[in-house]
Amino acid sequence: MLNKLIFANLTHRPVRTLLSVLAIAVEVTMILTLVGVSHGTLDSTAERARGVGADIVVRPPNSSVMSSLSSAPISDKYVAWLMQQPHVALATGVAIQSLTFPDSITGIDFASFNKMSGGFTYDSGGDPADDNDIAIDKYYAAQKHVQVGSTLNLVNHDWHVAGIFEGGKLTRICVKLSALQTLTGNPGHVTVIYGKLDDPKLAQQVVDDLKTKLPSYPIYTMEELTSMYSVSNIGMLKDFIGVVIGVAVIVGFIVVFMAMYTAVLERTREIGIIKAVGGGSGLVLNILLRETLLLALLGTVLGIVLTYGTQWMMQHSVPASLVQETVYYWWPIAGAIAIVGAMLGAVVPGIKAVQQDVTEALSYE
C-alpha cells in the first residue's frame, strides 16, 4: 500500500520526477563515463603494447610507466646491443613524438617491427615507403576523415597517407623511424626498445640480467609493463575520479534536496493528513526516503543507459582519442554513490516533514 502511495506521489508530478531522475542519471553517467574512459584508454594502450609481440621493454632513464614519452634519449646503438644479449632473438627501437593529447606519432623501423609483430593488417594501402608517408589506424582515419592518398599535417609537416591499418598494435599513427628522427632533430636515437626472446618464459630472467647491465634504465617484461596500465597506478587519475565523484555526490544532494524540499512544502497538507490518521514520524520519513530511493534507483538505471550513449558518441566522434569501456563492477558503486547523495539530500526535507505540526499542516493552503 505504501509503495502504491509512493509511486502515485512520483507520478503525480511527472516533470519534477523526470528532472530529478535525469539529474541523478547525469551524475551516474558522469562517474561511469570517467571510469570507463580511464579504463578503456589504459586497456587499449596495454593492448597496443602487447600487439608489438615483444617480451621485454627498455624505456628511457628516469621515465616511469605512466609518464608520457615524447623524446628519444636512447641511442639506437642499444638496439643492436640488445640483439647481442643472451636469449634476445629480435629487437626494434621506436621514436615517439607527442601530438595533441592523447595522440602521439611513432617512428618505426618497419623491417624489424614487422618481424616482431607480424606487421600491421592494412584495410587499404601499406607500410610507409617514403619519408613523407604516414600510416594510421582506422579509428584515427575515421576521426580525421582521411583515406589513403589524403594529406595529413602533423608536427608541422604534410604527410601522405600511405596506409590505413587495423588497430591494436603499438600505435595509431606511424611513420618511418628515420623520417621522424630527422624531423624532430634527433637522428640516431629512439624512445623505447622492444625485445623478443627465443623463449618468452625467460623474460624475467633476461630483464634481471639487463638491469645489472643498464642500471639506470627501467626495463620490464611485457606482462609487468601492461599490468601497470591501471587506474590505481596513476595517482592523478585516481584523485581526479575522486573529485568527480565528490562533485557528483554534491550534484545528487542538491537536486534531491531541492526536489524533496519542494515536495515536502507542496505536500504539507498531505503530510498533515497522514499524521492525522495515525501515521507517525517514522512513516512520513519512510515515505520520503523510499521515494528518494526510487528516484536514485531509476536515476542509476537511466545513468547506465546514458553511459552507453556517451560510449556511442565517443566511438563515432573521437574513436582514436578516447576509448570508453563498460566497467560493470562500477555500476553498483556508481549506484551506491547516487543513493548516498540522494539520501543525504532527503535528510533535511525529511526532518522538516517530520517536525510539521499536524493542525498547521491541515490548514495549509
Binding site: M1, L2, K4, L5, A8, N9, T11, H12, R269, E270, G272, I273, I274, K275, A276, V277, G278, G279, G280, L283, D357, V358, T359, L362
Partner: protein, 234 residues
C-alpha cells in the same frame, strides 16, 4: 504512573468522552490567547452530538484536542477510557490510529490516491488488513459511493469526497468519529445528503459521533446539541 504510560480508566458506565476543566492557551508572540477556558463535557457511547459555536468560540480547538492533534494546557480528557492529558506525541499518534476517526471540512483526501486507496491507506496505517470486510462494503453502500471508489478525489464532487472521507474515518472502527464542519464546503443539497448519511451511520451502527458546526440546521441532525462560546460550554 511512570512517564509515557497511558492511564486507563475502566470503561464500565463511563461516558465515551469525558472532559473536565479543559483549558488551552495559545502563545502568539508574547501574547497569551486562551482558546478554551475550562470545558466540561460528557458524551455517551453511541451518541451523536453537535458542538455549535461561532467562529473563535474554541470549537475547533476542542476538536483538535479530542482528536489528539494537539495537547491540552490543563484539564483531563478521557476517550474510551484513555486519558489524553498524560499522553506523549507517539501515544496521541496511536490514539488517532485506533480510537479516533476524522472528517474534515475540506475533506482532506490524498489527491494522488483513488477513493478506495484513500480508505485502504488508513487501514494500512492502523495495522489492519487492507481488504474491505463485507460489513464495511455495506457501509460503502449506505454512503452511496461504491461506484466511485476507483476515482481520484479530483473526479469526485464535494459531497462524494466527503462521503469517502466519512468512510475513511470509520474504516478502522474508531471509538469516536470527529467531524469538523463536515458540510462547510458543500451546497445545501449535498449538505443534507452528507448529514443524513452521518445520522444514518449513527443510528445503524451505533458509531459515537461528535460534530463541530456553526450551522444550527446541521446541528439539528444530531441527537444532542452543545453550545460553546468564548471557550466555555454554555
Amino acid at each position: 504512573m511512570s512517564e509515557g504510560e497511558v492511564s486507563v480508566v475502566p470503561a464500565g458506565s463511563q461516558p465515551m468522552i469525558q472532559v473536565r476543566g479543559l483549558t488551552k492557551t495559545y502563545h502568539v508572540g508574547d501574547v497569551e490567547v486562551p482558546a478554551l477556558r475550562g470545558v466540561d463535557l460528557d458524551i455517551a457511547r453511541g451518541e451523536f452530538v453537535a458542538i455549535v459555536g461561532a467562529s473563535g468560540s474554541g470549537k475547533s480547538t476542542l476538536f483538535h484536542i479530542l482528536g489528539g492533534l494537539t495537547p491540552p494546557t490543563s484539564g483531563t480528557v478521557v476517550i474510551d477510557g484513555k486519558d489524553l492529558a498524560s499522553m506523549t506525541n507517539k501515544q496521541r499518534t496511536d490514539l488517532r490510529k485506533t480510537t479516533v476517526g476524522f472528517v474534515f471540512q475540506k475533506y482532506n483526501l490524498l489527491p494522488t490516491l483513488s477513493a478506495e486507496d484513500n480508505i485502504r491507506i488508513v487501514e494500512y496505517i492502523g495495522g489492519r488488513s487492507t481488504k474491505f470486510t463485507p460489513e464495511f462494503e455495506e457501509v460503502l453502500k449506505l454512503l452511496g459511493i461504491t461506484d466511485r471508489m476507483k476515482h481520484k478525489p479530483r473526479a469526485l464532487s464535494g459531497g462524494q469526497q466527503q462521503r469517502v472521507a466519512i468512510a475513511r474515518g470509520i474504516v478502522n472502527k474508531p471509538a469516536i468519529l470527529l467531524a469538523d464542519e463536515p458540510t462547510g464546503n458543500l451546497d445545501s443539497q449535498n449538505s443534507a445528503a452528507v448529514l443524513g448519511v452521518i445520522k444514518d451511520l449513527n443510528q445503524r451502527t451505533g458509531q459515537t459521533i461528535l460534530m463541530i458546526t456553526h450551522d444550527p440546521e446541521a446541528a439539528s441532525y444530531a441527537s444532542r446539541t452543545v453550545h460553546i462560546r468564548d471557550g466555555r460550554i454554555v
